[in-house]
Symmetry: C2
Subunit: 870 residues, 2 copies
């Protein structure tokens, strides 16, 4: 067996695999010469051996004795000594942080003998017995399996017997008595005596912490976070220091910069005469780190020197725990500090100026996803709020307004300048206007890529989806959530970043893009080679995306254009037509509208490419539901209401996702695709005539057979070429397809014979590849994540193993027949960093995402590029 | 340019590619020395050249003259001659038959000069002018583009002006006058004179027939039948012979054996003094071929000698057209005769005995699909029937009974010994008992693999699905179809082979399996190497399948077992449980039922393997719908009806096909899968104890992630092993999965690490790979077939290009980690011949299909084996 015990002066920060994160950093700081309470680390390798063999190495006791002896020498104290007793903390520390998942024992080494030494050293009997009592509780629980509530019960009983109201009334004698009671409690519940021998205590604690690697919550945590079960945990045995040894003792936590804004300057809190848990518990109000300067100027100087040293050493903002024991400063932990996106950007950029890191490191250091909150208003974390439900954080930002239950009511509210939140079971395309009018959307069903979620993200509107405990009653215009009843007109606030639903108005913070952000984006744009486009179908969205740096439209859906009040009647006429002639008549009426839509978009996008997708959803999404509208359509078509209703029933589908939609509509009703193609080309010609350059790309959706594509492509080109020829204007256009059906990946070579571009529609591709309905998968995907079957929602993060492999097949096949085929992605994944990286590595030309994710994609693309060159 | 004109004495039957099917057979017969009216064939190659260049070869006229001269010499007649005029038919003839798709011109060569010769030769002025009139009509239409109805109008007008009631009142003079009128009609509508020069006529006819290769209906036909557009058609120019030249002339069609039963003996019909079209038109009743023996014994002798000669030559049953012109016999066509499955089997076997063909040829010659009607009762084709609608021929056979609209009514009818047909929009699993009680099932929606279709085929019950023009009114218990109203209790007959729905009782023929069939099956079994299993879940189905030769169960669905009246309440308790405890309680109640189900099946299957699939459908398929049942469940669970209703709403899904089903249920509710696994093993142990050998294979459905499989496999094995160990009985079992999700194909290697077998569920795999819902695809798949985008319904015939390629990926990946993995198919395709062949070539161990398709699969498997060795 290799060396399995490392003293803190033997390791370094690069040994995380062996010593765990905590152990490696303790070693690093020790080597740096910082005042770290001495100790040693048992390795992760040893943990795995121990768990496998269920026994220790032959000379384990001896080795432990040697290790403890070395600490005794360093401290001038002795383990188990009646005079100067050495006390230990025993803590787990895995390769990656698993906060709270495994066990810890503090104050180890106390017994009826060593307590005397502690009293002598601290001259504080009350403190000593309290430490002893806590040790028995903690050890009894963690090592001996006696539930915490048994100790709690005895404590309460004792206080009651004394008539105490407050813990502080407990005398040292009381606490000593409790020590006895606690030991009896242990005996009573586990059958064994509490071990008095410190060596037995240490052995027991080490075994328990090793074994806690395999406790249920740790296994679950590793499943969820895809942490290997055979990594094991290291165990750190460290000399105890106490921040609660009187007025010259204290404890605190500090960041080397402001984790919220990134501003340079020490940031943190401390409490004198307190332990770490007191800072966390929030019973006493901690002081700002700057106050220490007045209170203990020397310690403050020493501490801030250490802050500077650690930051310079780690070249990143540090999150540091420290304890002052009788005026002496100890550093207990350092780690890279968590920060907001805003802070991340500023810190990275400042550190370049400070010469700490180079540009590449700075760019790679900002988590692209962390930019998201900067781009939306957010709920003020300091505001009071009453959270009544939690759904999925489907589209970030915050929204506050009066509750409405129908899209029409949302539109009315907007007209009356009233802010509202639209609450629905789930939204459908006919709710678009209402969604656009609302501040935010709350649904009780549906997942991260439900209609509400996708549309809201596209609009940059806040959305909480699938808040399952909300029971909506449309008839009475209210929803119930537990005991709370929320009626139409009541105000709620929703947070699309946390998924929380709150009663009343909660303060929010507007988005602020500072110069740091702009600078970082500028660099990202210099580095990345892939283009970033946006998914947008309104002039508003398109403009928004341009402002965020989009370089074209990768997905312009045309169905949303069909829901406009003026045209929906014609759409319905088209759908409900009995004859080809009726249909043609209705379609002809739609052409001028479509043309105008495209003119608007082309004008905004100027000389950037615009990919327009032909009508995609099943036609039943457009049919009228209320009697008045049905009568209107019937009258227009010269049919009876009954006949129209029959047609509507005929259009219903069992699995609309797999139904009569996408290019299947175009094959059935070629006149529809032709009208759309003509509108696109006519619009492009008109804008081109005005001296702007237009690059339209006509996209055929939902192709599964090369024959589907060829069938429509031929018709589209025929009509487009005719229009262009007779206009006398030069216009280039492309015809391509969306790859979103597994079969299309398999026959991509055949499709690519005629298709000039592929845009991967990874939402549908994920649905079909997994056989997961994005509207229904919420019912089981949560369980899948909990049980560790999947790491992340495949609708948010591209499943590279399955869906990605299909994409790879498609790319290889397509390139085999058309080397220069243009490749892009326009699913939700187009703005997700790891998916962007995947697309770059597959050789894509562009990614396309919601306007609000464009900056994220830009940064992620630059990062992927930098990693590629590593 | 190569030789592009072949006289009939220059070609052979092996030149179909160049001369077309008709031309090659005319040449073959000529070479054989049969009396074939002389002529020549212009090749398909020339057709393509001509169509491409839009002009003839430089020396074309000269070559045609030479070809005609050769015929003149053979016939002793002259083209355009006033005395002995030679007349031609000009017919298309492509490589494969495209009946009625291209054009034909008869009597070519007639003009005002040659008509005199025809009159002289036939001494029949009326016949001659009638031929002349018909020629102008046909030529005017085909070559000059004048619509047939213009001629028809003139004909009617003329008859009216003469006051004739009947065509036979027309005198030779009348017909001569009509010739003039027809020529004027041509001039009037196309602007050109009718060509009098026979050479011009010939040139025009040749061009027109060539061009007819590209007429719209021919292109559509080729699209639908996937015939290459660049094959071209040959054109046959053949001397006219006339069966209507008096009482020693005649015409007929004969088969060399009975095409319906396969019995040896000449079979056919003829008419004296008639043309081919008269036999077809059915105005006069033709005579049986045997009668010719008395009427013209010499001709009969000559004809039957030719029959024998042709059959011996082609070594297959022939379908022969002949004409007798003034006592002289001419053979106009021979081709392989179409036949029923029954006849195919008998003919193949008889021909072995006759030494005509060997066993291999015989086995390959029977179309496996043609066996299907033999296995089911069929509608008597001779019976009168009033067809009111036509749906999809979803499950073959015929059924007759009183109409019922609910499953319960079907069950009641059965109990009262009344035959019924269950009529539904679509069936669902809760209709199983009703479907089982009905004679047949008729649905107004759904396709070939809708629930009704799949279940009916499994039961061997007749089903017509998706009869879209039937409007069902459940409330009034009736359906309307056009003008016809059919009420509950009315009798209808449905034919699952044609898809027809008929009013009243129509006579049917029961299935008859003769010794020929058994003999062929015996041979097939000797040859094939792949096993044929069946999809069965009831003792009845299993027994049926064994009788048809099944060698195990490839798919035993367990959901159908859940619908039994006794247990559905427990199933609903399980589904609607609020707590884990409630659920366990309900599931425990189901275990004994499940165990009994499996015991029954294991006993019947004796030592054959049985693959049992864990519960697959989404749970909402089981929930109660009427208030009474809801109250019953609510009471059992101590819930209110309202709460139960809310839970039912919660269970609803937008796309149930992609919802919470299959192994996803097992992941969410492991106790359910464990109960099923335990029931399987307990049943197997019990049957094994009785000395039978049981080979249970536990199948996890709908796996898309290897983690899903591993999760359940571990639990299944743990419980199974425990049961086996404590029983003291030896039992082998396998745990495997259904591969029916595209992603599973892509990660098949990872799944195969733990899965001992794969069974390809090609129904769902087809749905997901294409993104086609089998319940909804009926709305567009018809159009796809019409437009030639697909050749066949991918739910019936495996799509080898896409779905098959995914299967291939899966097989390769799986074998890379588990060389001996057991591979099977249990989708609808398991009984479809081309799909069976595909599976054999992929190295599958078995195919599994509905009991009634087992014989088809057995034969198809033998055929594939024979082809493999070619």
């Amino acid at each position: 067996m290799q060396q399995y015990i490392y003293h803190f002066d033997e390791g370094s920060k690069d040994m995380k695999g062996l010593l765990g994160g905590k152990g490696a950093n303790l070693a690093e700081m020790t080597t740096l010469g910082l005042q770290v309470p001495p100790g040693f680390t048992l390795t992760t390798e040893y943990c795995i051996q121990f768990l496998k063999n269920e026994s220790h190495a032959p000379n384990f006791k001896e080795k432990i004795h040697q290790a403890v002896e070395k600490v005794e020498q360093q401290m001038g104290e002795k383990f188990g000594d009646a005079d100067k007793p050495l006390l230990f903390s025993v803590r787990s520390g895995a390769r990656v942080s698993m906060p709270g998942m495994m066990d810890t024992v503090l104050n180890l080494g106390l017994n009826d003998t060593t307590i005397q030494g502690l009293i002598k050293q601290t001259s504080n009997e009350r403190f000593a017995y309290d430490a002893y009592r806590r040790f028995i509780n903690m050890y009894g629980n963690v090592v001996m399996g006696v539930s915490h509530h048994h100790f709690e019960a005895k404590f309460v009983e004792f206080k009651k017997s004394k008539g105490y109201e407050d813990d502080l009334e407990m005398t040292p004698e009381d606490l000593r008595a409790l020590v006895g009671i606690y030991k009896e409690t242990v005996k009573e519940h586990c059958g064994n005596d509490f071990p008095d021998d410190p060596w037995d205590q240490l052995q027991g604690a080490l075994d328990a912490v090793f074994q806690s690697w395999n406790n249920k919550r740790a296994i679950t945590y590793r499943n969820i976070n895809k942490i290997a079960h055979d990594w094991g945990t290291a165990v750190n045995v460290q000399t105890m220091v106490f921040g609660n040894m009187g007025e010259t003792s204290g404890t605190g936590v500090a960041f080397t910069r402001d984790p919220s804004t990134g501003e340079k300057g020490y940031f943190g809190e401390y409490l004198m005469n307190a332990q770490g848990e007191d800072v966390v518990a929030g019973i006493r109000t901690p002081k700002q780190i700057a106050d220490l300067k007045n209170q203990m100027p020397e310690v403050y100087k020493e501490l801030t020197d250490i802050f500077d040293k650690l930051e310079a050493h780690y070249k990143d903002m540090q999150d540091i725990e420290f304890t002052i024991e009788k005026g002496k400063l100890y550093i207990l932990q350092t780690r890279t500090g968590k920060r907001t996106g805003k802070a991340a950007v500023r810190i990275a950029l400042d550190m370049i100026d400070e010469g700490l890191i180079d540009k590449k490191t700075a760019i790679l250091r900002v988590d692209a996803n962390s930019l998201e909150p900067m781009l939306h208003p957010t709920v003020d974390p300091k505001a009071d709020s009453e959270v009544i439900s939690k759904g999925l954080p489907a589209s970030p930002g915050a929204a506050c307004g009066r509750v409405v239950f129908t899209a029409d009511d949302a539109v009315s509210a907007k007209q009356n300048n009233e802010k509202c939140v639209l609450v629905r079971h789930e939204t459908s395309p006919e709710d678009i206007a209402g969604m656009n009018s609302a501040e935010g959307i709350l649904t009780s069903t549906g997942g991260m890529t439900s209609h509400a979620a996708v549309v809201a993200r596209g609009m940059g509107k806040c959305c909480v989806a699938g808040a399952g405990d909300i029971k909506i009653n449309y008839a009475e215009k209210k929803f119930i959530c537990g005991d709370v009843e929320v009626k139409e007109g009541d105000i709620i606030t929703i947070c699309g970043t946390s998924g929380e639903v709150m009663l009343g108005e909660v303060a929010t913070i507007p988005p602020q893009l500072d110069e740091y952000f702009e600078k970082l984006m500028g660099w990202a744009d210099e580095i990345r080679t892939i283009k970033v486009r946006t998914n947008a179908e309104t002039a508003n969205d398109a403009q928004n995306a341009i402002n965020f740096g989009a370089e074209g439209i990768g997905l312009c859906r045309t169905e949303h254009m069909f829901f406009d009040q003026e045209r929906i009647l014609h759409v319905r006429e088209m759908i409900l037509s009995d004859t080809h002639e009726q249909r043609i008549k209705a379609i002809d009426k739609l052409l001028p509208y479509q043309k105008d839509d495209f003119i608007k978009i082309f004008k905004i996008m100027d000389d950037l490419p615009v990919t327009i997708r032909l009508l995609d959803p099943p036609l039943h999404e457009f049919v009228p539901h209320d009697d008045e509208e049905i009568e209107k359509v019937a009258a227009e078509l010269g049919m009876t209401s009954e006949e129209v209703k029959e047609k509507i029933v005929d259009l219903e589908e069992v699995n609309p996702m797999l139904g009569h939609r996408g290019c299947r509509l175009g094959v059935s009703y070629p006149e529809l695709s032709i009208m759309q193609a003509k509108a696109i080309i006519m619009a492009a010609l008109e804008v081109q005539k005005d001296g702007k350059k237009v690059i339209p790309e006509i996209m055929v959706p939902l192709v599964s057979l090369s024959e589907e594509f060829t069938n429509l492509e031929k018709k589209i080109r025929k009509h487009a070429d005719k229009l262009i020829a007779s206009s006398g204007i030069e216009l280039e256009y492309k015809v391509g397809t969306m790859i979103e059906i597994p079969r299309a990946c398999i026959v991509a070579d055949r499709i690519a014979e005629k298709a000039e571009f592929f845009s991967f529609g990874t939402n549908d591709l994920t649905q079909m590849a997994f056989g997961f309905s994005r509207d229904d998968a919420g019912k089981f995907l949560g369980t899948y994540q909990e049980k560790g079957l999947i790491k992340s929602d495949p609708f948010s993060v591209l499943d590279q193993e399955g869906v990605g492999a299909l994409m790879k097949i498609a790319v290889e096949k397509a390139k085999s027949v058309r080397k220069d085929i243009k490749l892009g992605i326009c699913g939700e994944h187009g703005g997700e960093p790891s998916s962007v990286e995947f697309c770059i590595n597959l050789g894509f030309d562009y990614v396309s995402c919601s306007p609000f994710r464009v900056p994220i994609a830009r940064l992620a693309a630059a990062q992927a590029e930098l990693k590629k060159n590593d």
